[in-house]
């Protein structure tokens, strides 16, 4: 069994085990117990993203500076670095590890909680740019890659889902009362930006998916199909959060995290496949 298949099996098993454990604890014991599973999955996602980051740099190093693949994998590496910083910030908030000098200053703490969440936005921009460079480079080869009418219809559907999510996300605020108005406004703006970028990434992924289908199989299509799954799972995380949060906050957090775990796992799989491709030929 190849390392890629082993990794895929492990990541699938982790997703299923986490879902079963969450269902058992959240429904059978308490929401708090379910939340622990969601936080455990968050840590697992962090581990997968860390592994992906190291491997992405190794893949990037295999390409010459003048090659389009170098630009693509540089942007993927930037995406992972910035995203990891954003995730570490979130981990510090989840597990009460925010440095004392930050909690001691209201202005700094506000920047830490509200400002630094835009690291996710920056990372998503790098992801979208990588997809854009890939699409441009492939079309420049002269091969007949093209987006079809049904892809545009699907993109319109994704856009509609994003609007629905945005509407559903209006009641997500669960911060303390004294920060409520300012924080709620800031969260609304962040979500608008995040959902818009997530939609852009999902639409670019749909174009890449079409190109992968037009290849008719092969190792390269395998790499990019995994990237597409990652991008779609990333966008789906907003939908899960928006759709569930009004009724079941713990469930919303778990299913958002599950989507993000699938995203991280798929991205790791794409990197492993690319590494096998460039090694083996």
């Amino acid at each position: 069994m190849s390392r890629t298949r082993l990794a895929l099996g492990l990541l699938l098993a982790t997703s299923l085990a986490a879902t079963a454990l969450f269902a058992g604890l959240a429904l059978g014991v308490s929401d708090r117990a379910g939340l622990l599973v969601a936080r455990g999955l968050f840590l697992a996602t962090l581990g997968v993203e860390l592994a992906a980051l190291g491997l992405a740099f190794a893949v990037r190093a295999r390409f010459q500076p003048s090659e389009p693949n170098r630009r693509i994998w540089t942007l993927f590496a930037v995406f992972l670095v910035v995203r990891l910083l954003a995730q570490l910030r979130l981990a510090s908030l989840y597990f009460d590890l925010v440095p004392g000098f930050v909690t001691g200053s209201p202005a700094l703490f506000l920047f830490y909680t509200a400002g630094l969440r835009y690291l996710y936005t920056l990372s998503d921009l790098a992801f979208a740019a990588a997809l854009g460079v890939a699409i441009h480079a492939w079309r420049a080869t002269g091969l007949p890659f093209r987006v079809l009418g049904r892809d545009f219809a699907l993109m319109a559907l994704v856009g509609g889902l994003a609007v629905a999510t945005w509407a559903l996300a209006g009641n997500l605020t669960f911060l303390s009362e004294e920060f409520r108005n300012v924080a709620a406004r800031q969260m609304q703006i962040f979500r608008l930006v995040a959902v818009s970028l997530g939609t852009l990434v999902a639409c670019l992924c749909l174009a890449v998916r079409r190109f992968a289908v037009q290849m008719g199989g092969g190792a390269l299509a395998g790499v990019w199909s995994a990237v597409v799954v990652a991008g779609i799972a990333h966008a789906a995380s907003f939908l899960a959060l928006g759709a569930l949060s009004q009724r079941w906050q713990t469930g919303a957090e778990f299913f958002e995290q599950l989507c993000l775990f699938v995203f991280a796992a798929s991205f790791l799989l794409a990197i492993l496949r690319q590494r096998e491709l460039t090694r083996g030929g």
Binding site: F63, W138, T141, L143, L277, T278
Partner: protein, 81 residues
Amino acid sequence: MPESSNLNQVIFEVLSPLLGKFTAQKAVEIACQRARKDPAELTPADLPEVIAGLRPMLRTLLGEHLAARILEDIQRRGGPP
């Protein structure tokens, strides 16, 4: 895959596991355009033209190192016996 010469088949067989069967087939057509021949007419003498035609596309899709390895493979398998 059109009826073809040995070189045509070699290119398809080398490229399809990496780039997929449709891309491999199209790559054969691009190589033929470069050599100004039909796929069935390709001969080992056309190899320099074929390789020059495939190189930019393979470099973009797979990277310089892998493209060089693949083109060597095509040259070895499709060249004169």
